[in-house]
Structure formats: C-alpha cells, structure tokens
Symmetry: C2
Subunit: 332 residues, 2 copies
DNA sequence: CTGAAAGCGCTAACAT
DNA sequence: ATGTTAGCGCTTTCAG
C-alpha cells in the first residue's frame, strides 16, 4: 500500500512553506511565479493529491454534493434518472466536486441519511422528485444549498430545473388539432407528481387555445406504467366517446394504448393519431414509431449541477425551465 | 445556519471524556453501561452526527466507496446500469457507507478522478465494465479494495460479480433447438466487451451440446445497438443461408431483427423463432413479446456491494456468478 | 473501564 | 509574497 503523499512533503521537497503549497493548490495568485512552478513540479513528480477529509475539516467545504433519489416514488429503472444523474455527475466532476449518490426511501428518512444531509457533511444537495417538500425547506433553513429537479409545489421557495412539461403537452395537443383531430383524449401520468399535472394542464390549454372544449370523459388517469396505459385506453374506448386523437403523458403508456387500439381493430394513425412524451428509445423502436415530445434529459442534469454550484458559491441562481419540442414520427 | 454538534459537546453534556464518547459511538464494549446510555441519550437529544472529514482524518477510513462508470464505453442510458447502481447504493447505505458516483471517461483518466481513487480518499471502488484492466491492477496494487461488475479478462486477478452470460446464451440456444429449429443464427453484442464474447460462446456451446455444427455464416457481429441489430439481420438474410431461429445478444437487437424479418415478409415465430437477452422492458412491450434471458440486475449490484464490504473488512471474498434463466413469451 | 494528549493533513488568520 | 501558528473534529495510543 503506497503511502499517500502529503502537502508537507511537497512543501519540503520544493523548499517552501506548507502555506505556500496550499496557496498554489487553491489558486491563490499572490505567489511568485517561480515558487508556484516549483510546487507544481513537486506535485507532479511525487503524485500528490490532497486529502479530502483534511481539507474538509480545515476549510469547512467538503467538495461533495449529495444526489438524492427517493426510491419510494422513483422507478430508478427509468432511464430518465440515469441520464439526469450522468449529467450531474459529469458536470460536477469537471468542477472538482464529487457526487454522493443516495438511493433511499425518504419517507422513512432514516438516521443515516439525515446525518449525511448536514452542511458539515456536504456542500449542497440535488433532489430528484419533490416528495416531501417540507424536508427540503428544513434543510434549506439549515443553510444547505438545494436544487430540485422537477417543479416543486411552491416554486418560489426552491431552486429547481425542469423541462417545459406544460408547453410540450400543449404543443402535442395543438399538433393533433392541426392534423384535423377534434376528439382528443389523454392518459395522464401519476397525478401526484407535478410533471403529470403540468402535462395535463398543457393538454387542456392546447385544446382551449384552439377553441375546443375539455371533455372530462376524454381524460383517463394513469400512472406512467404500461398497464395503466392499457387500462386508460380501454376505459376511454369503453366510455363510448368518439376518439380520433390521443396524447399520452409518456411513451410507455402511448405504446400500451396503441396495443389496445390495434386489438380493437383501430388503425394508428389513420383512425386514432397518437402522441407520447419523453421521446425515449421506446418511441423510436415502437411500431408504429411514436411521435413524442422531446426533452433533453442529460442537459437537465447539467443545469442542476450548474445551479447547485452557483448556490454553493453564494449566488441565488434562478430556476431554469428547458424547452421541449415535438418529434414527429409515424403514429400521428 | 444551525451549527453542527460536535463530539466534544456530547462529552461535556453527558459528563464523560471525548474518548469515551468515541468508544460508545464506535461500538467499543469496554464502557460501563450507564455512561454508554448517558452518551446515547445526549447524542439523541442534541442531534449529533459525526463529521465525516474528521473521522476520516483520524481513523484513515472514509466510509466512502467509489462507483465508477466508464462513460466512454457505457451507455448509461441503459437502464441496466441504473439498476446495478441502485442495488449498490442501497446496500452500502444500509451499512453506513456512502457511494461516490463517478461517471467519467476512464480512457483519458483525468487527474480529478485519479486523485479520488487513492486509498486515502475512499475505502474501496466498484467498477462498471472492465475497459482498461491495467488500471485496476495498479489500483489494487496500491492496496485499494476493488470489485468489478462483469467478468474481467483475467478473472483470477480480480474480484467480480456477473450474471451467467454463457449459461444464459446456451439455454436460449438449446431452447430454440428443442423447438425444432436447426438453422440458428446469432447477432452478437460488442465483442470487445466480455459479456458479448460469453454470450457468443454460450450460443456455440448450445449448438454443439445438441450435436449441431457452428456455421460462421450464421454469426453476425453487432454492438448491442438497434441499428446494428438491423444491419446484422439484413446481412444474415442476404447471406442466402436458411435461418429458422435467432439468438440476439440483447433485446434491442432482437427487436431490430424482428422489424427486418417482418419487412421481408417472414413471420415471428412461425418462420423464424427469436430469443433476446436481458429480459428488459423492451422484451415485455415489443410485439410479438420477446422470449428473453433474464438476469437479476439489482441483485448484481447488491452482490457487488457485499463483496466490496467484505474486501474492505479485510476478507478475500470469492467472485460471484448469478444464475440466468429463460423467460418464454411470444417470439419463440 | 476511563481520561489525557497527541496527532491525522490541511487551511486561514496573523505576522512579517 | 511568504512563513508561523493554530486549530478543524475525531480516533487512538498510552497511562492509570
């Protein structure tokens, strides 16, 4: 086990004081060029890298951002979260900040996690899904910089990043209308999550903006799962309403709905035009390929990382809503 | 910003020395029952939790395990890795160990990452994909406990967890043969990854075990992508060989192959029986639903976490191969 | 069984 | 511009 090189050794080897080494390491400019070079040479030669624990203890900064995924609500299986995580981790790493990943059930909020969420343990935290918002306010009050992915219930109280769910759903609906459809149904996502509510609102807005009425019988409540997509489509069809268009709140439910439509002998897009949401791989490989609302997921993670970095630096960054757009394929 | 409670405050509040508090916290038994209780009471009342940095500095243990995902090779989009990660993080957290997630390009192996991979910074590391194995040997030589997911090239030199890729592929092939198929083709995954090689070997073994010959013309090289699945199936068909069965090294390529088969007017499974690998969501929602080799991915992550915990504790755990089994659906 | 004291490696005043 | 000097909060000998 090769021992870790310490700052003191760098100091000795390059003939300066530990303080000077520390300055060079931390980008303090008031160090003479030659000594700085000597230090950097020694660092390279001896293969030095600072000890995180010591640095954290002395400076109060940990260089760590927690990424917290509430396993209770989230299906981490969903590639969505993996992509967001990738964006976050990559961006933070580029800034010398590490991501502490916690996949845990926040409902129980066990002691291990609670203890890790103190400002002394991490510089900031990024939350996936706003499940128990109260917890976030508590943490924020403790002085912990926090960023949330997805729109919280009280948007003004938290810093967050989100895709334009509302706008995307509206565009999808308006596109269907532009195609000549007039009886457009929707299958919603899990309505306890804000994204599903926004997508539903966007759907309604889309109808109204084109002078159509919202018909409650054309709204089926789903939960993003394949099965709920099937159930939703079945109940929609069984309601007896005429349907010539469908906006599903995600691609998986869209595919499920299409399978039901085909079983009933209805053609997509001829009889019913279908649009999904997420523009996932599923949208690309399904038959017919799905028209879907695209959102740049990795970019969302990158934005979350940028905001938390700014918040840690003491700024009060503005929440960000990323644009979404429609990708037209065969299903509509 | 509520200040962090320190060990010294616990000591004072409970009328014992810091050393005693530390002992209680770390489960040292030689502390009188009553004082231990007093300490625990104070800890609960004041809401104390130890400072990771300080503890790490004093003890040399960090309570951190790095989870390293080589972004160059891995499509982190693949839900596979998300699930493995979930398994790892959950298990580690249950043992009070945190996961440091690094999604990075190991090929460039930049300084930030290198520095974080020292035994002083983390207690151990779990790697996804064995890309540049040399790096792992280096780190292991430095005394860093390491676990790899997936079988490395020199299995004897590293601790790893994997699913039984070989056995799964063999079972898939033998199933096709049991269905009466005799001209079974395969589309491989990225053959630079060991899993793809093992799946190919399993396919060959399956043929041979049933007395069939391996026909090189029936082997198409893919890379796990949808497009490569299409290309592979097209070249297979264009080769002029008779084909009545297909083992695709993952579900995505299986779906791609099926789309080509249908375009050519071939029926699945009537004309060509198809089996995929991974038993992913894609397998369940595709039409026809895919027969596929199942592997318990989250369990793989849990196993990786268990092994790294053992390795950190000083044991020399044995590598683990988890069983795989076939899930039969409509495509075969 | 318990306490005193010495650091772990680094940063941040405070001097100079 | 640079060095000196205290610690940061915890664990761990070493005494007792």
């Amino acid at each position: 086990m090769t021992r870790q090189v310490t700052l003191a050794e760098i100091a000795e080897s390059s003939g300066v004081s530990p303080a000077t080494v520390s300055r060079v390491l931390n980008g303090d400019t008031r160090v003479s060029q030659e000594r700085a070079d000597a230090v950097r040479r020694a660092v390279a030669e001896l293969g030095y890298s600072p000890n995180r624990g010591a640095r954290s203890l002395a400076s109060g900064k940990t260089g760590l951002v927690a990424v917290i995924i509430d396993n209770n609500l989230t299906v981490f299986e969903d590639p969505f979260w993996a992509l967001v995580t990738k964006g976050i981790s990559g961006k933070l790493l580029a800034h010398g900040v590490q991501s502490l990943l916690m996949v845990t059930d926040l409902a129980t909020y066990d002691h291990t996690v609670a203890a890790s969420l103190s400002p002394k343990q991490i510089d900031g935290a990024i939350f996936f899904q706003v499940h128990r918002e109260e917890l976030l306010y508590e943490l924020a009050d403790q002085g912990l910089p926090i960023v949330v992915t997805g729109t919280p219930q009280r948007p003004e109280r938290l810093i967050y990043v989100d895709s334009d769910q509302f706008g995307g759903a509206q565009k999808a609906t308006e596109y269907l209308i532009a195609q000549g459809r007039r009886n457009i149904a929707t299958i919603t996502g899990d309505v306890f999550a804000s994204a599903a509510q926004q997508r539903l609102s966007g759907y309604k807005k889309g109808l109204e903006s084109q002078g159509l009425q919202v018909n409650p019988n054309l709204i089926a409540i789903g939960d993003y799962s394949f099965e709920s997509g099937r159930r939703g489509m079945i109940s929609l069809l069984d309601s007896g309403e005429t349907i010539d268009g469908l906006f599903a709140a995600n691609d998986l439910m869209a595919v499920a709905a299409i399978s039901v439509l085909e079983e009933r002998g209805l053609r997509v897009p001829d009889d019913v035009s279908v649009v999904g949401f997420d523009d996932s791989q599923t949208a690309q490989i399904s038959k017919p390929a799905l028209t879907s609302v695209h959102q740049d997921i990795e970019q969302l993670g990158i934005a979350a990382a940028e905001l938390i970095l700014e918040a840690i630096a003491g700024a009060e960054p503005e929440s960000r809503i990323h644009p979404t757009y429609l990708v037209v394929r065969e299903s509509s």
